[in-house]
Symmetry: C3
Subunit: 255 residues, 3 copies
């Protein structure tokens, strides 16, 4: 579909637009991930907000350009914040993304996630085990495409190779580094960066692809400088902040 | 009022006293900011505590040397913790600081913050938008001085240049680095450092000035070593830990 | 009892087994410590989980290989999560560790911690002030051994020198660096690492010793690279990730 160079240029454009427009991303996320996610968004040029207070969340979502819904902390306060925020996002026409963390290990989360899928999130980002828990199918190319069509969503399936499908179009992206798996909240931060991309690129599938490729390349650049997962966690923030077209052209691997 | 060299020496003295006396600072803060704030205080030589549990908060505040009230997480549990902690701080004569984060984006927070102002915090630290939301005036020198007098408080107005006024005395401090704006909780951590200064310097206005200048200089030193906002976030902790009189004398810019 | 070289080899074996088996450690911890603790476990090769949701916690604990109970955030939700998680751990025969943070400053926490001791945790990890609050005795060798016997537990007493006793066997470990005291959640992260060791070494006392020595050595290696407490916080994660037998043999100090 898209040659790597073409995708690299799209990714570079999306990265540049985020820096230029500073989109607001409201994040309902995991308490463990809040700080890291906020710092990743700031480094990318976006503006994070995080409140889940019932007195405030609708005002914050209404003023945002995209909404992240991460199920990594699953308490009642967050569930009710999610319901309210998603309703606001839908009524305002905002892009929104679900990251159904650990639904394979929690039936309660899986059921909640299924309820959200029925409201057609712009993107659902999940790994193979989470896909299986949500769809009751193994995560092969066909099942992913069918799932995307059924729910009118873009599926970003993460793994050694990431797959992004809107049901008609599908691309595999082979960027990233194993150290990304050794930092908590890396997936959450990556999903928040996809939200920033959704805020500046109307083609949801392209935005998701571009952000996935760019984030993976940032991980590769960071791995070159890091001495372990501790220094890597910050090096990738630096790398995303400084990411340029040349690095994307040299490194984006899509097929 | 104070020449830069004189202020640099006052700042160096305050920094040294914090290291020497290890004041306890109780922080009611933003869940996103807790870890970063605690690490900044520890690096400065202070001792942080963070509980908001109703069973404990009064005992912790009563044993502290200063209280930080940050409105960045605005849930009901924190609101009630704030009421209780402020009452304890006032009855013990402890210095306390309000950081009314995002009140310009949340009417509920703004109303709560106005209630706290009526209790005369030692310091209120806020940016231009937050000042306007709190005072209904644009943040010029005159409005800031009048606000400080009205509420018998010290206003620390943050921005490209920071302004510190107690209603009679006012100084502008031009230290810091743009990377400080790309790290979440930097303002919260800076406010916590002001609290540590309040614990060791009885002149509230001088303590606020000294801490503001010292924190800005730490930011400048960190920017020289950092490769982006990720590494900067930790470099400023290192820099505050190692900050010395020579660096302050070379860099403090006040007018 | 054990010569340093012998302990170094045991520590190296435990470190290798954690990397090999990737034990799951469920952590009920301090909101300030969650991210840092999770990153430390991931760097060591273990798999952290953190939920305290009543709908989920039993399933997570039942699927884990060890349980960490840290009292650093003491709200009602966490207290009830602890009760439930400990019951599950006991019924499954999982090792579990209590870290009774700040019980010397909070009578409510101290009382709660005493209730947990009656259920015979595998390990209790605490400093001198916390030991005194829990046992009503000064933390000398005899009192620690008697306490360990009384509660059928292993006591890991932290300080300039760490002491690990199961009531019959006791060893002092003199590894570590003062910078460890300037990073919030360092003790919590260290306790989580002990839990990972408990999951792979059935002799609770040896597991605790091995993990304590290994963590201290990682701190020493990190201090050589760090420029202050900010960079140290990540350097120790890198060091634990890369820790090898040679470094342990060269540095473990036990008596």
């Amino acid at each position: 579909m898209h040659a790597p160079i073409e995708l690299a240029d799209i990714a570079a454009d999306v990265v540049a637009r985020i820096r230029d427009r500073a989109p607001r991303v409201h994040c309902i996320t995991n308490s463990v991930a809040q700080q890291y996610t906020a710092n990743m968004l700031l480094a990318a040029g976006a503006v994070p907000s995080m409140t889940i207070s019932p007195d405030e969340i609708d005002a914050f979502v209404a003023g945002a350009d995209a909404l992240l819904v991460n199920l990594g902390t699953f308490d009642r306060e967050r569930q009710s914040a999610v319901e309210s925020a998603v309703a606001t996002a839908i009524s305002k026409g905002l892009p929104w993304l679900i990251d159904p963390v650990f639904i394979d290990r929690s039936p309660a989360r899986a059921e909640f996630a299924r309820g959200l899928m029925a409201r057609h999130p712009s993107v659902v980002r999940l790994n193979q085990a989470e896909f299986a828990a949500l769809s009751s199918h193994k995560a092969d190319g066909e099942a992913v495409a069918r799932f995307a069509q059924t729910y009118d969503t873009v599926v970003a399936l993460t793994g050694d190779v990431d797959m992004v499908s809107d049901g008609r179009r599908g691309i595999a992206i082979a960027n990233g580094d194993p150290l990304m798996g050794l930092v908590t909240a890396m997936g959450c931060a990556s999903a928040a960066f996809v939200c920033a991309a959704l805020a500046v690129e109307p083609d949801t599938w392209l935005a998701t692809l571009a952000a996935t490729a760019a984030f993976g390349v940032a991980g590769e650049l960071a791995a070159q400088r890091a001495q372990g997962p501790g220094s890597f966690a910050l090096a990738i923030i630096d790398a995303l902040h400084g990411l340029d077209r040349a690095a994307l052209r040299a490194r984006v691997k899509a097929s």
